[in-house]
Symmetry: C2
Subunit: 384 residues, 2 copies
Amino acid sequence: MLPDQTLLRIPGPTPIPPSVQQAMNEPMIGHRNQETKDLLQTIKPKLKPVFGTEQEVLILAGSGTAGLEAAVVNAVRPGDEALVIVTGAFGDRFVKICDEYGISVHRYDVQWGEAISPETIAAYLANHPDIKAVFATYCETSTGVLNPVQELARVVHQNTDALFIVDGVSCVGGVQTEMDAWGIDILVTGSQKAMMLPPGLTFTAVSERAWQVIEKNERPSFYLDFKRYRDSLANNSTPFTPAISLLFGLKQVLTLLEKEGLNQVYRRHQLMKDMTRNAFRALNIPLLTADEAASPTVTAIKPDDFDPEALRNVLKEEFGLSIAGGQQHLKGKVFRIGHMGYCSPADIVQTISIIETALHNIGKSIELGKGTRAAQEILLKGGF
Amino acid sequence: MLPDQTLLRIPGPTPIPPSVQQAMNEPMIGHRNQETKDLLQTIKPKLKPVFGTEQEVLILAGSGTAGLEAAVVNAVRPGDEALVIVTGAFGDRFVKICDEYGISVHRYDVQWGEAISPETIAAYLANHPDIKAVFATYCETSTGVLNPVQELARVVHQNTDALFIVDGVSCVGGVQTEMDAWGIDILVTGSQKAMMLPPGLTFTAVSERAWQVIEKNERPSFYLDFKRYRDSLANNSTPFTPAISLLFGLKQVLTLLEKEGLNQVYRRHQLMKDMTRNAFRALNIPLLTADEAASPTVTAIKPDDFDPEALRNVLKEEFGLSIAGGQQHLKGKVFRIGHMGYCSPADIVQTISIIETALHNIGKSIELGKGTRAAQEILLKGGF
């Protein structure tokens, strides 16, 4: 192993681009000074296309979970009925948060590794007319599923007046997201995934319809009160001291996204997904998800003849490469490769070829280079 | 003005030491990897002396206000009576948070610029036996007052069974704090003041007595639930993705504090306070606070014959020096100099002499060098 080499291929936190790291080294500034106002003014319009919205994107200091909780606290009142569609560990987190606030939760479980079927949800909603909010996960980090939020938004609005609230933490910024056009009412993401920053910021955008509900709700939390963030942001400010170093970085992230072009960013993520999946398919190592359900940002692999933890240990110790294991009941049964944010097709080829080598180390018999070649073929075909 | 020179002398955010900035450039790591566990394990014991506690110090990603709200949410139940002692803008914030949660608030206002009198509070508490929590601000950032929390803790515990909850955001790390010995039940601070980090972390320690109350409380928030942080920290982990780059920095901050020695850190802050106050006294420019009430971390000055905003503008434009203005009803009436964290007596001499120059610029007649000399005299006497 090369000392000081770390290869971070988990589904977040993700590596920080050098120019973003550099930007975060700007000398500290006063949070009520003009510099901070200028920073927020620059950031505001550039965040909107990432969410696909004309609404301002609110920026909170906190983990992604703070953003998810803020969505619950602001949009749903204790006693309200809410449908939470659970496709993995992060849907489950929405349930826990709703439970904490005395929301009457309808929990709809989808088998881990499968995507939500909009038709089933349409039928469910038709039978439950009092549901005030529907919660879904865009990319379910624990399984690598990308749920069809566009279609889900449609069936939610066709069948109910409920708000449609989406956890986009592990994909927004890497996957096309058209919040306004699709009809997502609240969309949350975090800084440490496709947004290429260290953890510590959570972003939320809120539709006009959701603002109307929020305005009527009486007692949200203080720190998580969206209205305070909206009102401050209108003056290029924040209600509480913002995480300034991360905002420095964010400005540069948005410049990078603009430079590459969002469409190309999304195409790159699709390509990395296809390369990864094709590689494991070539190696005859089963993927957890079907092609139509697969996220461009993270791939879960479910081997049937070796221990994922043994592979992860060798990767970490011999190559400094971190990949993720499974969560909850998938612990020890899957491994997950993050391919989002500051990650390129070149990084995927490297990751696959290291994994092939490590598989040999743990005694799994494969044809060396076969997966890598399969990834290369996709790369060539993709015309990247 | 020298391009690219910024002199940040506001009461937070404060400048970042170069080695801390450097530490935050470590390559990103997985939040569930061994590296993060090692990081937290190193940090944990070194945070305790800063708080003066044997309890673990919990680390949340968020602004200081998130920590203040967490203290309210965890320790007080809706309907409970609480006494909030308000000595300025940040005591006022505690009231707003308590109001948000339906807590029955007794608000005790002290004139801005004065410290809380423990005797008065003792009498108040004797007449209000049902108070479950007393909230106070250690250093009131808006006025530069350091409240006598040690004596307050004593009178709170002598007169009631209430928990004593302290906002230490703008002084912990720069002022001696003996949470356990004094009897503070919950102590909150932030990263961007005396802790020499960018904003984005909030720290809290909780006494045994407070944990007993918290255990009995039924429904705190999800993200702000202290129990989750405590249980995760026991395994050198966090319940939600931590702000990893700030943790890298924190480790180095704690090394710096250890190297200088906490007693010397506190002595340095006392000295910077005395230098600043002596300078303005020599210049015949009135201080907002009396000597016995003055904080070692921030000084508020209330001129009677020039406009503080005019001074601040010249300082910013001509010298790149930021100082703070007044908040709420002190807006336009005071200016505030932060002297905490990565700030030395040499920086104070510089600040004073720049301010003298700028005072000339705005037409205030003073003897140039008089304030600087008064600061130097304190420095020499202080035997720094």
